[in-house]
Structure formats: structure tokens, C-alpha cells
């Protein structure tokens, strides 16, 4: 049975395909994304308050390393598909970073199937956002060596944007607030931040369906290569993620989540960071792969597949 939130995404795509006048106001998009990031962080933080923090260090280290390595592994594969050096680096950065909404859908799928997972999983999302972007920029600089001597990376600005950008700030902020408040302290805000989560996620997916649907036309423009990347790359990365999860001794749900995170492609933090740091990469190409192909693929086929894989491995 397909998850109800995925049907909202399908409705959004359909609305675009039939050229409906349906639009969600941009302010609502912004509000929903802030809500989701905070709620995911809070939920993880409440659970974090009952955990020995030091025990989490290997998980943090391993998930960060996973995010950092992904662009390097993808780079030669994308070059074989005739993507330019900077485009290969940029697409790799999108996969190295993570999609928070894909994570959210994976957690609701696990909850629906009553498969327990590490409740502090939001922490992995927060720490996996940045390393892939850094790796992508390093690769782009390497690909441009000689050609663009003028290209300077403002690492300070980039670090500021990633660490204090909306996603990481709200995720880590939520985690911290949840950890300090604990279950009891957070009880008064449950009615807003915890209970309606899935409904808000559904609404956000409707909006993402509209956005992804608008980009479907681009798939035709870029041709078969983007389909091969968008559908072929996630399962491969999921296997790598699942193996990392197993090596960390995570639960079945935890392995499925790390696999999902590895397979997911960022379409919020990565496009913005890459646009500034690697302006000569084709932004439309990366966004089409991440949002129009990989995101729906993971939603419909990937997540159920990664959960099965985790069950087989643990």
C-alpha cells in the first residue's frame, strides 16, 4: 500500500501536468519547510535527552564520512556518462548532501510498518547536509584546475551558509531544544510540533509535486543520461548506506534510514550552495536529476526497497 503522503505528491505532479492554476503561496512553502525542519529536530532531540551522547560519536563520524565520500565515488561514473567535470561535481554534491523530506517519508513508512528505528536519526540528517557539498566544491575546483584560475572559493562564507543556513540551524536547533526540554518539557508543544506532523508533510509534498512536475519537461531536454543517473544512482548509494548502517550496528529501521539518506539527493541546500560556489555548473541539470527524478523515485520505489534491503541485512 502506497503511503498516503506520496499520493499528495502525485496530486501535485498531476496538477502541473494538466496545467492547473493550483499554486501554494511561497510564504506557505517557507512556513511548511520551517515547520518540518523544526519538528524533525525536536522529535529527535526529545529522544536524544535520554541517550549517552558519547555513544553517538561513531554514528556521527560515519554518516559524515559517507556524505563526503559519495561525490568522489560518483564523479568518475558521471564523467563516463559524458557530464562535464563541474557538472559531475555538482550532481555528486547533491547526492552527497541529503533530502530532509525523503528522510521524513522514510520515517513515516517505517512507523506505518511498525519497524522501530533510532529515534535520534534526525541527528544523522543534520550532520550529513554539509560534507557532500564540501566534497562537491573540492571536486569542481579540481575539475577546473588551470581553466579557471580566477575561481576562488569563499570557504568562510560557505561554512557560514551551510552551518547557519535554514536547514542545519533548524534541525540542530530543534534537536537541542528537544534535548534540553525532554519529553516532559516538550509536552505543551506536542499538539503543534509532533501530532500534526504527517498532515503538514502531506501538504508540503503537494507543493513539492507542483515544483517537481514543473521540471519534468527538463527531463526531455537533458535526455536519457539524467534518467540513468536519477534512477540508477540511488539504489547503488543505498547499498553503500545500508552497509555503513550494518557496520555501525544499527537497528533494521536505522539501516533503512542511513540507506535512504545515502540514496537521497538534496534540492534545498545543495542547489543554493552550488550556485554560488560553482556558478559554471549547470544548475538545471542537477535540480532536474535531484528533484524531478531521484526524489519521486525514492518516494515510490526506493524507500520500500531500502526497507526490504535493511530487513534482509539485519
Amino acid at each position: 500500500m502506497i503511503d498516503v503522503v506520496v499520493l499528495f505528491f502525485a496530486l501535485g505532479v498531476f496538477a502541473r501536468l494538466v496545467k492547473s492554476d493550483l499554486r501554494l503561496p511561497e510564504a506557505l512553502y517557507e512556513t511548511l519547510s520551517i515547520y518540518l525542519l523544526l519538528a524533525i529536530g525536536l522529535k529527535g532531540g526529545i529522544e536524544l535527552s535520554s541517550q549517552p551522547l558519547l555513544a553517538l560519536a561513531p554514528q556521527v563520524g560515519a554518516t559524515m564520512a559517507l556524505g563526503f565520500v559519495i561525490p568522489f565515488v560518483l564523479f568518475p561514473l558521471l564523467r563516463v556518462l559524458r557530464l562535464s567535470g563541474v557538472d559531475s561535481a555538482a550532481v555528486g554534491a547533491h547526492y552527497g548532501s541529503v533530502s530532509v523530506v525523503t528522510f521524513a517519508v522514510a520515517t513515516t513508512a517505517l512507523a506505518r510498518q511498525q519497524i522501530p528505528f533510532e529515534s535520534h536519526a534526525a541527528l544523522w540528517v543534520a550532520v550529513m547536509e554539509a560534507p557532500g557539498l564540501v566534497a562537491g566544491i573540492l571536486l569542481a575546483r579540481w575539475a577546473q584546475r588551470g581553466a579557471a584560475a580566477g575561481a576562488v572559493t569563499r570557504w568562510g562564507t560557505l561554512a557560514h551558509d551551510v552551518l547557519f543556513g535554514k536547514s542545519v540551524l533548524l534541525l540542530l536547533g530543534g534537536l537541542l531544544i528537544g534535548a534540553i526540554a525532554g519529553a516532559e518539557g516538550a509536552a505543551p508543544i506536542r499538539a503543534v510540533f509532533i501530532d500534526p506532523f504527517k498532515g503538514v508533510l502531506a501538504l508540503f509534498l503537494l507543493e513539492l509535486g507542483l515544483v517537481a512536475g514543473a521540471r519534468l519537461g527538463e527531463v526531455r531536454r537533458f535526455g536519457v543520461a539524467v534518467l540513468v543517473i536519477g534512477i540508477g544512482v540511488p539504489p547503488v548509494l543505498a547499498v553503500a548506506g545500508a552497509l555503513v548502517g550494518v557496520a555501525l550496528g544499527l537497528s533494521t529501521g536505522g539501516v533503512a534510514i542511513v540507506a535512504t539518506l545515502a540514496a537521497s539527493a538534496s534540492y534545498i541546500a545543495a542547489p543554493t550552495a552550488m550556485r554560488i560556489a560553482v556558478p559554471d555548473a549547470n544548475a538545471a541539470l542537477s535540480i532536474t536529476v535531484a528533484l524531478a527524478i531521484t526524489f519521486p523515485f525514492n518516494l515510490v520505489i526506493g524507500i520500500p526497497l531500502y526497507i526490504r534491503m535493511a530487513q534482509a541485512l539485519t
Partner: protein, 100 residues
């Protein structure tokens, strides 16, 4: 009422550039600027401004003609080849000359 001639420089481009533009125009001598969120389309497709990577801004700067030229030259050289960019000038009249 006395009016003074000034240049209005309008820059329409991707929202990702906003911070760099603000930094640049101040450095090149503009006293102020105004930014709106806008949407539109061109040779490379449509930008509807529905989400982060799809946002477009319109920046207006009122300044002296030479400052407007310097800013336009700088923006074109820095971002012209990689970003969607529309630039145009207009003659405007202002009431308080020192403000711009």
C-alpha cells in the same frame, strides 16, 4: 520644486546572487538599494519563484551615472556568463540630491 537628475539601474537576476550584489553595489558607491522578489521567463526557461532555487530578484539602485556604469560593468563581468541577468538604466528625477 527643484528636481535633480539621477540614474536608475535595475538588475534582475537569480536570488542566489543577492548578497553578493548588495556587497558589490555598496562598495562601488551606491548609497542604497531596493530589492523585490519577482518572477518571469526568458531564453533559458521560466522562473516561478516557488522555492529556493527558483527565486528571482529585481534590484533597483538610484545613483550617479558613473556609479551606475561601474556597477553594471562589474555585475556583467562577474555574473554575466553564468547567471540569468537583465540590466537596464533609466533617467529619473529625485528631490534630495545628497541621498543618492
Amino acid at each position: 520644486m527643484t528636481k535633480y537628475p539621477k540614474k536608475l539601474l535595475v538588475i534582475i537576476t537569480e536570488a542566489a546572487l543577492e548578497r553578493e550584489l548588495v556587497r558589490g553595489v555598496k562598495k562601488l558607491g551606491a548609497h542604497g538599494y531596493t530589492v523585490h522578489d519577482v518572477r518571469g521567463g526568458g531564453s533559458t526557461g521560466e522562473r516561478e519563484g516557488a522555492w529556493e532555487a527558483d527565486r528571482t530578484i529585481e534590484m533597483k539602485i538610484i545613483c550617479d551615472a558613473d556609479v551606475a556604469d561601474r556597477i553594471a560593468q562589474h555585475v556583467l563581468a562577474m555574473h554575466g556568463s553564468n547567471f540569468g541577468l537583465t540590466l537596464f538604466f533609466a533617467d529619473v528625477s529625485v528631490l534630495r540630491m545628497g541621498k543618492y
